[in-house]
């Protein structure tokens, strides 16, 4: 067992531990911070494996943008300092699903690869990743980007009340005499 292996296992343990803390802690914002630790440890794992590009993109996108946005949203609505005792949703269904999925995947992977060794080309360079993504996997990549775009448009539509709803102004002008009552300005 080399030092790199030890580091990999240690970082993996940190990732799993902080992942558990994310879902068990009663502190709302600290859950987000544990998520940062979890994703950061994962980035460290990538780094140990030699995939520098993926590691730093992980830090840049997930740690630097996604969780910040998550914290941002939490703080916009409610970000209590200290424990929130009203987070009392039963955790066992999620634990069952998550544990089952994790265990199933582990068993599947271990069974699939059992003792076989796979020769990997040197991983992690931007060139190789670019070639793979934009040659072999270009269709999933594009489909994913369309998915993200539609999510973006959907979010915009949901957050703006003046899109996609019948305008009440038309009704107001159609009904003569009722203008003053309907405007809302004179209530």
């Amino acid at each position: 067992m080399t030092g790199a292996d030890l580091l990999l296992i240690a970082l993996g343990a940190v990732a799993v531990g902080s992942g558990v803390l994310v879902v068990t802690t009663k502190h709302l914002v600290r859950a987000g911070l544990y998520l940062v630790v979890c994703l950061g440890a994962l980035a460290g794992d990538y780094l140990v494996l030699g995939a520098e590009l993926v590691a730093w993109v992980q830090v840049l996108i997930y740690v630097g943008a996604v969780v910040v946005l998550l914290l941002f949203a939490v703080m916009l609505t409610r970000a209590p300092i200290g424990a929130s005792d009203d987070l009392d949703r039963p955790g066992w269904p999620a634990a069952l699903i998550g544990g089952g999925a994790g265990l199933g995947l582990t068993v599947l992977l271990v069974d699939a690869y059992r003792w076989s060794t796979v020769a990997l080309a040197e991983a992690g360079t931007a060139e190789r990743l670019g070639e793979q993504i934009f040659r072999s996997w270009v269709l999933p990549f594009e489909v994913l980007s369309v998915l993200l775009l539609s999510a973006l448009v959907g979010a915009v539509v949901l957050s703006r009340p003046d899109i996609g709803r019948p305008a009440p102004a038309a009704d107001r002008t159609a009904a003569p005499g009722g203008v003053d009552v309907e405007t809302g300005g004179r209530r």
């Binding site: 730093w56 941002f72 809302g184």
Partner: protein, 450 residues
């Protein structure tokens, strides 16, 4: 030992070979550079802003007031460290540290110079370099948001929370513009390592115009001018400097996220702000201004780009950029928040995208000579300019009256009082006036004040 290696550019293979003491020296040097730059940067900013505002600035402590920042730092260390009762203690303690660490870490991939000889080892003047060094820079600056947003939240009070929220929105918005403007640099340099980008800016292409060959400059600030401008603007936004210092707008938010901070924790926030400013200047220098390479008139001297001299050019460029930061602060008033956001998302981002599209289009035409490229750029640019010049003025839309605005509010808005409401004088006021007895001076009592 021949001095030939001195002139060589470091490549990625030159990194990771240093003995441990050399690595330590480099790290300590980069750290000391950050701290010293802060000490001098605060002084420099106060003096320059003072000069711009026709006042002396700090000039009492030490020669030219150079030790003023040191004195202020000492004073801050002896102040009481206040911990708000409602604060989240752990996060409140760590937030300034996160800010400083992120700002300093970015310095580790900034090349300060070429290969030099330190105690017999020849080594690049850079702590380390990785194939994706620019991503490390971006990651560091995006992690810096945590210090601010957590500091604002953990203070447990309203203004810091608002300041922290503002800053996270601001930094995320301007990071997008920043990342996109670096994309142009990647595409042109073909590498993401900082030393590689500096090396690429060393050799410019030869432009042949009317039979004369003119050496075109290799700096990306000139080749990729739109990217450079956008990058610098988003750098100012990213470091929370005026005119984009909305997270700490004192007229709206007291001091923003650092309102509750005092003593050394406040000093750490200050430190991180100035280190970030210097780091960003260094990064701009590296990516766009040729890094440690000497500017044109100096390059006539052949030894300009070898040995320890490049460090001087590098520091010169960094100081010039810091001066621009200070200049902006002394010149421009703070933007309003919505203007700032509109600028980032509706101006910088589309321009950036179009520019990247144009650039990649140009780069895909490889078999053209430089003159053909020049024509290919020049004609559309000219058409664009003429079109902008003769574009019919957009007639300003007639402003809706107050009543129209009220009528057009979406259904379910808060009720408003009528616009022409006449508020009758309160009956209570007349009663008070009526009840007051006329002052009677004739009684001569001194105790009664009229």
């Amino acid at each position: 030992m021949s001095p030939s290696y001195l002139a060589q550019d470091p490549t990625l293979a030159d990194f990771g070979r240093d003995p441990w003491w050399l690595v330590l020296i480099k790290i300590v040097f980069a750290f000391a550079f950050g701290l010293l730059a802060t000490l001098l940067g605060v002084w420099f900013e106060r003096r320059v802003v003072g000069y711009m505002q026709v006042r002396p600035g700090p000039n009492q402590v030490g020669p030219f007031g150079l030790l003023q920042t040191l004195a202020d730092g000492l004073k801050m260390a002896f102040k009481e460290d206040i911990l708000p009762k409602a604060a989240d203690k752990v996060v409140y303690f760590f937030a300034p540290t996160i800010s400083v660490i992120c700002a300093v870490t970015a310095l580790s991939v900034v090349p300060f110079g070429p290969m030099v000889s330190i105690f017999g080892h020849h080594t690049p003047l850079q702590v380390t370099d990785v194939p994706v060094a620019v991503l490390v820079l971006l990651a560091c600056s995006s992690m810096g948001v945590y210090g601010i947003v957590l500091g604002g939240w953990a203070s447990g009070s309203t203004y810091p929370l608002l300041g922290g929220l503002r800053s996270s929105a601001q930094m995320i918005s301007y990071e997008v513009a920043m990342g996109l403007s670096i994309v142009a640099v990647f595409m042109t340099a073909g590498t993401m390592s900082t030393s590689g980008i500096v090396a690429q800016q060393g050799h410019g292409t030869e432009l042949t115009i009317f039979g004369n060959s003119i050496p075109a400059p290799g700096w990306y600030a000139i080749l990729l001018l739109p990217s450079f401008i956008i990058f610098f603007i988003s750098t100012v936004g990213e470091t929370n400097r005026a005119p984009f210092d909305l997270p700490e707008a004192e007229s709206e938010l007291v001091a923003g996220f650092m309102t509750e901070y005092s003593s050394l924790k406040f000093a750490l926030f200050m430190l991180s702000e100035y280190v970030a400013m210097v780091t960003m200047s260094a990064v701009t220098t590296t990516l766009f201004l040729g890094g440690w390479r000497a500017p044109w008139p100096i390059t006539i001297w052949e030894g300009a780009n070898s040995g320890w001299w490049p460090m001087l050019w590098f520091f010169g460029k960094v100081i010039a950029l810091v001066f621009v930061f200070v200049w902006l602060r002394g010149t421009l008033p703070r933007l309003r928040y919505d203007q700032f956001m509109r600028f980032g998302w509706k101006v910088l981002l589309p321009i950036n995208l179009v520019w990247i599209l144009v650039l990649s289009g140009l780069r895909s035409i490889e078999d053209w000579d430089s003159r053909g490229k020049l024509i290919a750029v020049g004609i559309p640019a000219g058409i664009l300019l003429v079109a902008t010049l003769f574009w019919p003025n957009r007639r300003p839309q007639p402003k809706p009256t107050t009543q129209e605005q009220v009528d057009n509010r979406p259904y379910g808005s808060f009720p408003l009082p009528p616009m022409d409401l006449q508020v009758p004088p309160s009956p209570r006021i007349t009663r008070v006036v009526a009840e007051r007895e006329p002052a009677n001076i004739a009684t001569g009592s001194d105790s009664r004040e009229v």
